[in-house]
């Protein structure tokens, strides 16, 4: 048992190591800026290698955009300004958390609406009374026949 546990633990460690980040080595003056950098590159999407964020992607454009994020942070820009910078050039597409707008209503509220519809359907089904059980009883003749059959057996 102990062996299995350590094997699982080992494979987990290895898989985390294999999930290597990019190879940038940006130096930050303080921890807060570093944290902001990390959350920004996680939330910004790579425009070329879609389905990856800037942090995960090794494509040249992602590296450039990480450098740009770093540069903007060093200039003392706020997170909002940096996100705006990206949106202005690459469009809303780069946001993994898109802004609420006419285009994204379905994205933001669709799931909640679907859930409500589902809940409504469940309620409707539950409220429907089960069909009345029809009491079935055997007539005297049938009762006798049944007794006969059982006895013969």
């Amino acid at each position: 048992m102990k062996h299995i546990f350590s094997a699982v633990l080992m494979s987990l460690i290895v898989s985390f190591a294999a999930h290597a980040w990019n190879t940038d080595t940006y130096v930050f003056n303080d921890l807060v800026t570093e944290k902001r950098y990390k959350s920004l590159v996680k939330e910004l999407r790579c425009p070329k290698c879609q389905n990856q964020n800037l942090a995960d992607s090794n494509s040249p454009i992602a590296a450039d955009l990480r450098r740009e994020v770093y540069g903007l942070l060093q200039q003392g820009k706020s997170d909002g300004e940096i996100v705006d910078f990206m949106v202005k050039r690459y469009g809303e597409f780069v946001l993994y958390r898109p802004k609420v707008s006419g285009l994204t209503y379905v994205l933001w509220f669709g799931p909640a609406i679907l859930l409500l519809i589902g809940a409504f359907v469940v309620v409707m089904i539950l409220r429907k009374k089960p069909a009345k059980k029809i009491e079935k009883s055997l007539s005297d003749d049938q009762q006798d026949k049944l007794a006969q059959i059982l006895k013969d057996k």
């Binding site: 425009p47 949106v87 469009g91 597409f93």
Partner: protein, 183 residues
């Protein structure tokens, strides 16, 4: 009433099927450019073949400017190259190059080996202007009008079909627009 309700799952299924089927033929790489209708961003970069000459957005002269993002590392740039030569020779547009994330010597050699279709090429080794333009890779081509407004962006190589279907309508549009303004 109950009969209709029974068909709702089928209807939903068909609707979902239609949406997903349509998704199959869409190109996820074709993103709407955030820059259409915006002014060409300003820049200060050297000219590819004359490292001492500084270029700015003012140097992109022409009624209809095509700015083609290219690099020697880009396979499709080679593919679209003969079409660009044709386009440049037609004289209908002013074709400029943006040499994107490349080596100056390699790029100069490339232009010598093949043929230089560009009036001039901007040298952008770090992709700075590329980021300003929202470029994700090469080749990409921008159509800029005579007021310096970006009117169209094409991602991917230009060939005969793309030129006919996408660029010519835009160019004819612009030419008509100018005629209207001039008269």
């Amino acid at each position: 009433m109950n009969k209709i309700i029974r068909f709702i799952p089928l209807i939903l299924f068909i609707a979902l099927g239609v949406v997903l089927y349509r998704g199959l033929s869409l190109n996820p790489q074709a993103l709407p450019s955030a820059l259409i209708g915006q002014k060409m961003p300003s820049f200060q970069l050297t000219q590819l073949l004359q490292p001492k000459v500084m270029l700015t957005e003012q140097d992109l002269q022409g009624d209809i400017v095509l700015l083609n993002v290219w690099g020697t590392w880009c396979v499709y740039c080679k593919y679209e190259h003969p079409y660009l030569v044709d386009i440049a020779q037609s004289g209908r547009v002013a074709l400029y190059g943006l040499n994107y994330k490349d080596d100056r010597q390699d790029a100069a050699q490339w232009l010598k080996d093949y043929e230089d279709p560009y009036q001039l090429s901007i040298f952008d080794p770090l992709g700075k202007l590329g980021i300003e333009l929202g470029v994700t890779a090469a080749p990409e081509t921008f159509v800029i009008d005579r007021n310096g407004i970006i009117r169209m962006k094409h991602v991917g190589p230009i060939d005969g079909r793309v030129w006919k279907d996408k660029f010519l309508p835009m160019i004819e549009n612009l030419e008509k627009e100018y005629q209207g303004e001039n008269s």
